[in-house]
Amino acid sequence: MNDLNATSHHEAPEVVDHRQRLGIWLFIGGDVVTTGALIFTYLYLRAVNTSGNWMAITGLPANGRSAEEVQGVLDAGGSMQHIIEAPLSASFAWILALVMVASAAIFWFGESRLRANEAGSKAFVAISIIAGLAVVAYIVLSIVQLRQVPQYWRVEHDSSLWIYTTYGSCMLALGVSAVIHALILAFLAFGSATRAAVGAIGHDRWFQVRLVRYFWVWVALSTVILTFVVTTLNSN
């Protein structure tokens, strides 16, 4: 009787899969709003461009300079300048987006191998590791890009402050958001690989891989949308 109950409480994988798919779509929905809020922030600040400060600022360029060096410049009679900053490299941003899209495509390909036949499981391990490495590359490149965001020293009331333009601020926020998403993807990619290697994912158990792919495709799509926004609407 007890055993009967125990099995009757056990649900069919299809039922669980249906539920998890709905769950992942809802999480993606929440993430769409988060990304939307960041795009809203970007477009809002660009549109209002308060006091012409979208990509311009009065200060001293600070990248590569320490606080002492900047202080030295000021002590030597140097003063803050009105700087109009150049947007971050569009081609670099598109390369980043391309890496993300490619990683999604690789993972999707791995999923199709996995679903195709018994042997696909082994291929999937290798392919998802490659996809994961692509994401790691994306993270590294993102950090390189984040370091390109121009930073300024501004001296006010005897104290010097770091400051970013609103454009730079938005690029930082979007970049950090991208890195967080990519870290999740890397976790999922390498996790999928280990799971396939130990047999927790297989030809007959690939539902979770599809869930990962849904999220991955969404992240790739959002990267393309964001890259489009920040490379086309970035002039002052």
Binding site: H9, L22, T34, T41, L45, N49, Y164, R195
Partner: protein, 615 residues
């Protein structure tokens, strides 16, 4: 399935057996301390925003350590290494044969999580209530310096946020967890481990919020308006960390609620046969999924401004406070309905059971709730009529705001239609329902005044607004939440909450609410701004009355707390279905067994068949 695995691993739980609330707290403190020490060591302590960076990283350390220490990260770890939990693990996690211990652990059983949410709600509302008493004591007489202005401003912001968080979870937390899965005929929530995760991330967020008071209070009320948020003490960093943690908790909980109702219904439980509380819960959860990401983003951007020198909300760098206000109210108005809808759902359930009548016009009220959700996403700028942002949009936002009175009216129609010529059974839950109806009318109508721009130009930022939304939050939502507590408490504990103490607490809170907030309306009408730590002599009498009323509410809540505690231990036994309810939670035994149903029921009608032939 996996029978070999189960055999050599009969005792489930593994590492989780060693973890509980105590290890979580210790681990949280240790990780917080490590993060604090490391950030002191590695960060540039002459750099700007150093204190903020340290505080935020310490907060992160606490959250991660706490979740590690409770075992929340064991699941992802096991997933990553491909060692999935087996049946014995799952049974251990669900709290099988663990007795009281399971209430202090990462337990996945939805009923345990529901009880944990009751306690968390009480902590949040209790702490918020104590701060409210601090605020009101400070305002007892003009120029009374019960606390200094810095502390007072901290009280304002943390009181507001504690109450908002407390009310978001007040109905949805306990009852969408304890009752909802049983109502739809499920053995548990859709994702039991995520359910525990949402609870314990909420618990991790609470000390951050309270801690923010201790380390340098913030200056800007719960709306954390920029750019004053940039001046505030480091308490704000913990405050924002707490919100970010909380948004993760609600997102997880919202996904879980929606999936439970949409995919876990038992045979015959069509969407049209759902108890109305289930509808209210999924609407609220869906709206929360839309609203809370804005909350996360606005807090994250605020922290970025403080920590690394970005200029989102800082005018001198090109940013603008209006952006902060937009993002905040994009979250802030839907959030009102995230709070309100579950309470309305509970109220409608109670009204039907205690009038012994079917719910009046089921489809209309479902449509009304859907209308509330849709409209609430389109009204945010009515909080900004006087901020000077986009004056030309005033007309459209006035339109959408006033349209909300139509679906709100529908809720009243359905409530009145349900009690119409019923056999009204005035037990405690129903008493709070009548309190809800009386108060919600006041909260609703005063909202209509404020939607009108010329009136808002006078009333915005005054005590009138404060009284208005307290009529909604205290008078309506809190009354609904307490009604729900009296209604479902017998299912949780097998006992009634003491009727006599219940009536005393009702009258104290009910009269206290009107004394407090009617006098507050008068202060506002006569011209008192909100968030004042001190005021002119002309506001002396009304403020004195408000403070007395607030003490009455607190007294009533303390009586209620006493009633809940004593009744939990030694109340009158209730049996499984003391109210003669027809929804599924009343069909299962009390205490509800693990996995709720021996055999899943088959449903043939909605639970409102009062006075109808049995089918």
């Amino acid at each position: 399935m996996n029978s070999t695995l189960e055999q050599h691993h009969v005792v489930g739980g593994g590492f989780l057996r060693r973890l509980n609330f105590g290890t979580a707290a210790v681990s949280g403190l240790v990780f917080g301390f490590i993060a604090w020490a490391l950030s002191h060591h590695f960060l540039d302590d002459s750099g700007q925003g150093f204190a903020d960076q340290v505080t935020v990283l310490t907060g992160c350390g606490w959250v991660v350590g706490f979740l590690l220490g409770i075992g929340a990260l064991t699941g992802p770890g096991k997933w990553f290494t491909g060692r999935d939990q087996n049946h014995a693990d799952e049974m251990y996690l669900a709290g099988k044969d663990l007795g009281r211990k399971r209430y202090f652990q990462y337990t996945t059983d939805h009923k345990v999580v529901g009880v944990q949410y009751i306690i968390a709600t009480m902590v949040l509302l209790g702490a918020g209530g104590i701060l409210a008493m601090g605020i009101r004591t400070n305002l007892l007489t003009p120029g009374n310096h019960f606390v200094n202005q810095q502390v007072y401003n901290g009280f304002l912001g943390v009181h507001g946020m504690l109450m908002i968080l407390g009310l978001i979870v007040a109905v949805a937390g306990p009852w969408a967890n304890f009752v909802l899965p049983i109502q739809v005929g499920a053995r548990d929530m859709a994702f039991p481990r995520l359910n525990a995760l949402s609870l314990w991330t909420l618990i991790a967020a609470i000390p951050l919020l309270l801690g923010s008071l201790a380390i340098g209070a913030m200056d800007m009320g719960w709306v954390t308006q920029g750019p004053i948020s940039d001046q505030s003490g480091i308490g704000f960093d913990l405050f924002a960390m707490s919100i970010i943690t909380f948004t993760i908790s609600t997102t997880v909980a919202g996904v879980n609620t929606i999936c439970t109702v949409l995919t876990m219904r038992t045979k015959g439980m069509t969407m049209e046969r759902l108890p109305i509380f289930a509808w209210a819960s999924i609407f609220a959860a869906g709206l929360g999924l839309y609203a809370f990401p804005f909350f996360l983003v606005v807090m994250a951007l605020n922290l970025a401004d403080r920590m690394v020198g970005t200029s989102f909300f800082i005018a001198s760098g090109g940013g603008t406070g209006w952006l902060q206000e937009n993002l905040f109210w994009l979250m802030g108005h839907p959030e009102v309905y995230v709070i309100l809808l579950p309470a309305v759902g509970a109220i409608l359930e109670i009204a039907s059971v205690f009038s012994r009548k079917p719910l009046f016009s089921y489809r209309t009220v479902v449509g009304g709730m859907a209308g509330l959700c849709g409209l609430s996403a389109l009204v945010w700028a009515h909080h900004m009529f006087t901020t000077g942002w986009a004056p030309t949009l005033g007309g459209p936002f006035m339109l959408t705001t006033e349209l909300i009175s139509i679906p709100t009216g529908v809720i009243f129609l359905v409530l009145l239609g349900t009690i119409w010529r019923g056999n009204i059974w005035m037990k405690m839950p129903m008493i709070w329902v009548f309190g809800f109806i009386v108060n919600f009318i006041v909260g609703g109508i005063t909202g209509i005044y404020l939607s009108d721009i010329p009136v808002d130009n006078q009333m915005h930022g005054t005590m009138f607004v404060v009284a208005h939304f307290h009529y909604v939050f205290v008078g309506s939502v809190l009354f609904g939440a307490i009604g729900a507590l009296f209604y479902w408490f017998p299912k949780v504990s097998g006992r009634f909450i003491d009727e006599k103490m219940g009536r005393i607490s009702f009258w104290l809170v009910f009269i206290g609410t009107h004394v407090t907030f009617i006098s507050m309306f008068v202060s506002g009408l006569r011209g008192m701004s909100r968030r004042y730590s001190s005021y002119a002599l002309i506001f002396e009498h009304t403020n004195f009355v408000t403070t007395i009323g607030a003490y009455m509410i607190m007294a009533g809540m303390l009586v209620l707390l006493g009633a809940v505690i004593t009744s939990w231990r030694s109340g009158v036994p209730s049996g499984p279905n003391p109210w003669g309810g027809k929804s599924l939670e009343w069909m299962v035994p009390t205490p509800v067994p693990l996995e709720n149903f021996e055999v899943l029921p088959v449903i043939t009608s909605d639970p409102y068949t009062y006075g109808e032939a049995k089918s």
